[in-house]
């Protein structure tokens, strides 16, 4: 019942089932019968000293599950992983979130976790770029940096003792995201990689895959590194800024060309289709789907139709069978 409700006709249903079967047979499922529901027995060797992890409990000397999911075993650790896992934050994750509250000296963000994350004013670069102590005036001007419902990209700095998440946005690549789309997908579809910021130069758009399941697709923004900036450039910019004191925001409002907007929509739809099919979201896969839609000459809204859905599943099945054959 979940996901995009698509009305597939008979032929499409057949093709989709066949493609999904192929994908299933290709994936190696070592413990395919290890799914458990609540209070099911977990088969363990009682002679070994096993560690009971998340989702397990002891009852009458037996180990039972407290969650519905799949049993995972790592050496001596036995735990139950839910199928639609919630986002589990780790230090250093790149996160995309939305501001829901401006509180004294911090912003509260919603990040698809059980609690809201906190971005302290001190973990944020000030607009003039000088490193200094935050004063009361800075606190009063917090709203000029981020307001409610702004979309922000940040990094996990650490946890508080009570489980609350702390973020930091000290580098130039973090901060407010403008002119784009925010998509919500399941968090387990985004694996932790080295790079989460991707620049698709042939389309001129930025793709940020947040580890919490929030994906940002937007117009490309040139990231200026503070250190490398020339002093002369800086003075030029300051002059320009002083001329436009009144309408700061309006000057920076550049017009986004329609081709870029179409590319943004296309990429966003590609990610939607992939997340409904349950495939891992990586740049390569997204690029393939976008190229596929362009080569098939589909309109952007047709990408969310049943036919494209089935085609993507088939292509992915082909791709995986090719890669396993090569091995």
């Amino acid at each position: 019942m979940r996901g995009l409700q698509l009305s597939l006709n008979k032929g499409q249903k057949l093709r989709l089932d066949r493609a999904l079967e192929r994908l299933e047979s290709l994936s190696s499922k070592a413990n395919s019968d290890a799914s458990v529901t609540v209070a099911d027995n977990i088969s363990v060797d009682y002679e070994d000293a096993i560690l009971k992890g998340h989702g397990t409990a002891e009852m009458d000397g037996r180990v039972v599950a407290t969650l519905c999911g799949v049993v995972e075993r790592v050496n001596k650790l036995v735990y139950v992983r839910t199928l639609r896992a919630r986002y589990k934050p780790e230090v250093g994750d790149i996160i995309v979130g939305r501001v829901i509250e401006v509180a004294p000296k911090r912003w509260r963000l919603e990040i698809n976790f059980s609690q809201d994350a906190v971005l302290m004013l001190s973990s944020m670069n000030l607009p003039d770029g000088i490193q200094r102590r935050r004063t009361a005036v800075d606190e009063l001007n917090m709203r000029s940096i981020f307001e409610e419902n702004d979309v922000i990209c940040a990094e996990v700095r650490g946890f508080q003792h009570d489980g609350c998440l702390h973020l930091q946005a000290r580098s130039q690549k973090y901060g407010k995201l403008k002119r784009g789309q925010l998509l919500t997908i399941s968090p387990y579809l985004v694996k932790k990689r080295k790079q989460h910021f991707h620049y698709l130069d042939q389309y001129g758009i930025d793709l940020i895959l947040g580890c919490n399941g929030f994906v940002w697709v937007g117009e490309h923004v040139e990231v200026k590194d503070d250190m490398v900036e020339d002093l002369s450039n800086k003075s030029e910019q300051q002059n320009v800024k002083s001329w436009n004191m009144m309408g700061d925001e309006e000057v920076e409002e550049i017009y986004t060309p329609p081709e870029t907007r179409q590319n943004i929509c296309r990429t966003a739809n590609a990610i939607r289709v992939l997340s409904t099919l349950g495939f891992m979201i990586t740049v390569e896969v997204v690029m393939e789907v976008v190229n596929l839609s362009i080569s098939l000459d589909l309109d952007i809204h047709e990408m969310l139709g049943a036919e494209f859905y089935v085609i993507v599943a088939e292509k992915e099945a082909e791709r995986r069978s090719m890669s396993t054959k090569r091995r």
Partner: protein, 256 residues
């Protein structure tokens, strides 16, 4: 439902079927024939599905004969009220009826009672320590009330909690028995509930063999109560098996 008639409706309604009917006298001694043709110790066939509501963390839909309930679970999410640190999580339950749920439009039973009873039934089964400082919200919506509402709501809510991935000690199954004269009828329909002398509802965790809630109303003799409890517990364990198979199907059905 605990058979209490609601207050007299303020708007005029031609039939006063909200109050307890005067039972035809021939029924006190003879056996009651159930309107849907079931045996007295036979439950209605259950239809259970998870994943009914896309936007919720977990959800379930249950249909027991004419009683149709949809439950959505949100959480664990930030609790605004508990700014103080609490090392256990909070559970918040809310039951509501649609206006077209009852035969007379808008005449729903006390939903505040039902909400607090649902809370008591579920809090024994949820491992609250697993989500400190956050809240789990359970919203139950009764689409059609065909008798034995609260047991169906509790069963459906426990499925929705399992679907949402919240840690539970065990699934919670709930069944009610009503007593008419000398007959014990399990899983009563609204007509039977309007005639009942007493009702007994048990909410239990089948695999652990523990009862989280027991509600008794009306007049009961001791042997009758024992018999009714035994009936309920047997029915609950069967219902528990059905719930499990529903969850397993949901997990293995949509691949990927």
């Amino acid at each position: 439902m605990a058979g209490k008639s609601s207050a007299t409706p303020t708007t005029y309604s031609p039939s006063l079927s909200g109050q307890k009917k005067k039972r035809p006298s021939f029924l006190t001694d003879s056996d009651w024939v159930r309107p849907d043709g079931r045996g007295p110790h036979q439950c209605r066939p259950a239809f259970l599905r998870t994943g009914a509501v896309n936007s919720a963390s977990g959800s379930a839909y249950a249909e027991f004969g004419n009683t149709k309930v949809i439950v959505s679970v949100f959480g664990p999410r930030e609790s605004k009220k508990a700014m103080m640190y609490s090392d256990t999580g909070r559970l918040n339950c809310n039951v509501s009826y649609t206006t077209f749920a009852t035969p007379i439009r808008g005449q729903a039973p006390e939903t505040k009672d039902l909400s607090s009873m649902l809370h008591k039934a579920l809090e024994g089964a949820i491992i609250l320590k697993s989500f400190p400082k956050t809240t789990v919200d359970v919203f139950a919506l009764v689409l059609e009330s065909g008798g034995s509402d609260l047991p169906v709501i509790t069963t459906c809510a426990s499925l929705a909690l399992a679907d949402a991935g919240i840690m539970l000690y065990d699934m919670v199954a709930s069944v009610s028995v009503s007593c008419i004269g000398k007959n014990l009828l399990i899983d009563p329909v609204s007509e039977e509930e309007s005639y009942q002398d007493g009702s007994l509802m048990i909410t239990c965790m089948p695999s652990r063999n523990e009862v989280t809630q027991m509600t008794v109303t009306g007049e009961w003799s001791t042997p009758k109560i024992h018999e009714a409890m035994q009936l309920c517990l047997d029915a609950c364990s069967k219902l528990g098996k059905i719930m499990r198979s529903c969850l397993k199907e949901a997990a293995s059905g949509p691949q990927d």
